[in-house]
């Protein structure tokens, strides 16, 4: 039985071509049919367990210490003004002047404390944002490579997390640590 040399006349050749053409369409529809993965990352644990996060915490502690120092200095000045206003034997005019200075300083001090509180919150937010922006890059990579459709980062928005399968926190932390090197 002779075999035909030219493949263009093979009876199955048309079927091969047909399959080759529709194969990509099938593969993409299979991929789409795959269940989309969902991940979860706990930002607080990322901060606690990464070098970057620990540095951010140390920076915040230093910032708070600086603010506390200012508050202490202000309080010491205030106390000195109060003592000066309570010195016995002052003339009524002198006492009034000193009390006025004390009142003014007390108001300034209150303002300073309020500003300090606001500044600390703002600095904390800035540092957290800085850390999470780095973590976002990692998340994007993990999401893309791992086929995750959604990665949640708000623990309050999640009712239940299967930590063994879904929690990506450690992976993100590990990756973040390795990128910082």
């Amino acid at each position: 039985m002779g075999v035909r040399k030219s493949s263009s006349h093979h009876p199955l050749w048309g079927a091969f071509i047909f399959l080759a053409l529709i194969a990509p369409a099938f593969s993409s529809s299979f991929a789409a049919a795959q269940p989309q993965r969902i991940g979860f990352v706990d930002p607080q644990r990322v901060v606690d367990s990464t070098r970057l996060g620990r540095k951010a915490k140390a920076d915040l502690a230093r910032f708070i210490a600086e603010k506390d120092r200012m508050a202490r200095d202000g309080a010491a000045e205030l106390a000195a003004l109060r003592r000066a206003a309570e010195v016995p034997g002052l003339s009524a005019q002198e006492r009034a002047t000193r009390e006025e200075a004390y009142r003014r300083k007390a108001l300034e001090h209150q303002l300073l404390l309020r500003e300090n509180e606001r500044d600390v919150k703002s600095e904390e937010a800035k540092l957290l944002r800085y850390v999470m922006r780095r973590a976002d890059d990692v998340l994007r990579d993990i999401g893309r490579k791992g086929g995750y459709a959604v990665i949640l980062i708000d623990p309050n928005a999640v009712g239940y997390v299967d930590k063994t399968n879904v929690d990506l926190t450690e992976r993100v932390a590990r990756e973040l640590n390795s990128r910082g090197k």
Binding site: L52, K55, D59, Y130, R179
Partner: protein
């Protein structure tokens, strides 16, 4: 006969071992071997921040002795500059409680003679014996020093000032006044580099060098398409720093247009030429001053480059005087942004230093004060935000220094977090 040869060989080896370290060691300060764990502090006060620990047996170079404190340096450090110090330690911790004396005045640290200071180099002799800010501050407690900060600031800064003003390297064209090579090749290589630099036109951003074989990618993403690979030591123009990535351009490009970039590379792998050379040689090497030095001058608005937020001001001076030799030592700055509130008279001034590694905290305060002196307007309350070279100009600052209208520093803090990814 054989044993005689052996004896000679052993003697030669011994002589080499004993002679070599002293021949190659820098001729300043004194070398101490620490006998127990010792705290290195940021400034010469017991309550200053501990910046590192020295282990028992560790050897360090100590200098700038004052009031029982000394600045300590890495043994490989060749430059006698407090800016290069690891920090400060109590002299008694170095000597394990023994008293010692150093021949010159700045060594009032300790009492009786044990050893003499190593002879100074010619360059050091030419300099006024670097009393620096320690000489001003150390006699006082930290609190007093803070209170008197304004009065003391002048001499404190003067030391840093001159360097900051006169030895700053060109921001765009890196001047290799510091060569990693020594001897005959140094001069010729410097000449060649100068010739190369002359070809690089001035423009935006910075001219930096690839630290290693460096991938340039299509986007600021490690997964994006590879566009080209820079070879180690290749010069590129760098700008548009964001999230640890920098846009890299052909050095010949002078138009600040991101679309002209070759692509994006990791910022931490792009170094200044001086840093690259220092890294290649394994240690900073002191260079001889250029012979064709011109008189030093401070250039204001020397190179106006356009920024999205407005005009950038470059403050720089050429390394010109004989003492002014090192790019590493030189610290210049560029004003990135100035936001003034007319009502409150509060001004936020954002500046970028020309160094990639942060100076010691005392040096940083001195630098900040110097910048304040140059930039403040009368009655302004200035918040100075200090960024390091190649940090994102819109990102978090490395240090923040708040000044009162009279120049007193009210607040000073810094963020090590922003250094984590190489200060980008």
């Amino acid at each position: 006969m054989r044993s005689r040869k052996l004896f000679v060989a052993v003697a030669l080896c011994c002589a080499f071992l004993f002679v070599t370290p002293s021949a190659f060691a820098a001729s300043w300060g004194r070398i101490f071997t620490v006998s127990r764990t010792v705290s290195v502090r940021e400034s010469p006060f017991d309550d200053a921040l501990r910046v590192r620990m020295l282990k028992a047996g560790q050897r360090v170079r100590a200098d700038f002795f004052e009031d029982g404190w000394a600045a300590v340096f890495d043994l490989r450090e060749t430059q006698r500059s407090e800016l290069k110090a690891m920090g400060y330690v109590r002299v008694s911790d170095l000597t394990n409680g023994r008293v010692m004396d150093i021949e010159d005045g700045d060594a009032a640290a300790a009492g009786k003679t044990v050893a003499k200071r190593a002879p100074r180099t010619e360059e050091e002799e030419a300099k006024p014996a670097a009393p620096s800010h320690r000489a001003v501050r150390s006699a006082k407690s930290a609190k007093q020093a803070r209170a008197d900060e304004t009065e003391e600031a002048a001499p404190v800064v003067k030391h840093g000032v001159k360097r900051a003003r006169t030895e700053v390297a060109d921001d765009d064209v890196v001047k290799p006044s510091k060569s990693a090579k020594t001897g005959k090749s140094s001069k010729s290589s410097r000449k060649t580099r100068r010739e190369v630099q002359e070809k690089i036109p001035k423009g935006f951003g910075e001219i930096l060098v690839a630290d290693c074989s460096l991938s340039v990618r299509e986007d600021r993403d490690i997964g994006s398409k590879l566009k080209r690979v820079l070879r180690p030591g290749q010069k590129v123009r760098v700008d548009f720093v964001q999230g640890g990535w920098s846009a890299v351009f052909d050095p010949a490009v002078t138009t600040r247009d991101e679309s002209l970039a070759w692509g994006y590379a990791g910022s931490k792998f792009l170094l200044t030429e001086a840093e690259y050379e220092a890294r290649q040689s394994g240690q900073p090497v002191q260079d001889k001053p250029a012979k064709d030095a011109e008189p030093a001058k401070l250039k204001k608005d020397a190179e106006p480059a356009k920024n999205a937020k407005g005009r950038e001001t470059v403050k720089k001076a050429e390394p010109t005087s004989k003492a002014a030799a090192s790019v590493e030592e030189a610290i210049g700055y560029k004003v990135l942004e100035r936001k003034a509130d007319r009502k409150t008279k509060d001004t936020v001034l954002r500046v970028r230093l020309t160094v990639t590694r942060p100076p010691t905290k005392d040096a940083l305060r001195a630098i900040a004060r110097e910048i304040w002196k140059s930039e403040h307007k009368k009655g302004e309350v200035v918040q100075l935000e200090v960024l390091l070279s190649r940090m994102d100009p819109k990102g978090l600052a490395y240090a923040v220094v708040k000044f009162r209208a009279d120049g007193r520093i009210t607040e000073f803090w810094w963020r090590d977090t922003v250094l984590e990814d190489g200060g980008k």
